[in-house]
Amino acid sequence: MRWLGLSLALLALLGVAYLFLPKGHSFYGTRLMQPKPVDFALQGPGDPVRLADFQDKVVLLFFGYVHCPDVCPTTLLALKRAYEKLSPKEQERVQVVFVSVDPERDPPEVADRYAKAFHPRFLGLSGSPEAIREVAQGFGVYYQKTQYRGPGEYLVDHTATTFVVQGGKLVLLFSPDKVEATDKVVADLRALL
């Protein structure tokens, strides 16, 4: 009988302890065990844009190109869906950024107009081929022209991951497949906000 009482007391104690455990959000995207510091300066539609300008926001970064009919619009439409699920207050703390890996065909205005065709609050960036190369390398983004038919006619193979940056650090990744699960992406963003 004494043992039963003790066991019950122990169980109750465990139950109370459980209540005080931090309830961690289980991330759907790929969390980086060691968030990587990232920054860059590229050209926006007007002024140069630094990633650090969005220090107080969660930045969703996608590298693509305007002449991309399948993969890029699929991801940007998914990001638009996720963004539109957020409340206006949450939206203020999230910035979607499209970076062109085709600077020859996509000057900053073209990249920005393209991003804004998905959502007026999205931002499109470009820059010199060297600047783009450096930024892409920083994020481990691969891109390569293929099927070259002329200066304006080619395709670009590229990494289609969505990178999530917070406080100057790369913290989360969404593969092109994962980014389409809008509710799960929204839940991840809310856990970061």
């Binding site: 399948d70 393209y114 983004v141 590229h158």
Partner: protein, 139 residues
């Protein structure tokens, strides 16, 4: 004699496999540079049918493309390549969808409106041409 005159015609009908559009859409383009058409085709016939491509009066050029994933230097890379054909299996379906096959439309001659229906003429290896009307959708 007269009753045999209809024979070649009937034979022709039997050979022509009636390929059918199940559904499809054209992606609302974010720029006039390119867009894609996605669709599902059904082949009720006994033999495979090869989709070669399409023509559209509102685009300069149309190509049939396939999207692929590939690992390069340990990184997942996506891209697309023109393909010669895509097969609609006998008594089966061919699905062109994001991340798979698509009809890539180059240099649009005019902006498309959300919700409008645009015409494409699908071309098959056996000479069949199928006119389809697809809605322009942001999906």
């Amino acid at each position: 004699m007269r009753r045999w005159m209809a024979l070649p015609f009937l034979l022709g009908l039997a050979l022509a496999q009636e390929v059918r559009l199940v559904e499809g859409w054209v992606r609302y383009p974010a720029s006039l540079a390119v867009t894609a058409a996605y669709l599902t085709l059904e082949n009720p016939g006994e033999r495979p049918l090869r989709l070669l491509g399409a023509e559209a009066a509102w685009a300069e050029r149309v190509e049939l493309h396939g999207t692929f994933h590939q690992e390069k230097d340990g990184k997942m890379v996506m891209g697309m390549r023109p393909v010669d054909f895509a097969e609609v299996p006998p008594k089966g379906r061919l699905v062109l969808k994001p991340g798979g096959y698509h009809l890539m439309l180059f240099n649009l001659k005019r902006p498309l409106k959300l919700g409008e229906k645009v015409e494409l003429v699908l071309k098959f290896q056996n000479g069949t041409q199928l006119k389809v009307l697809l809605p322009v959708e942001a999906r």
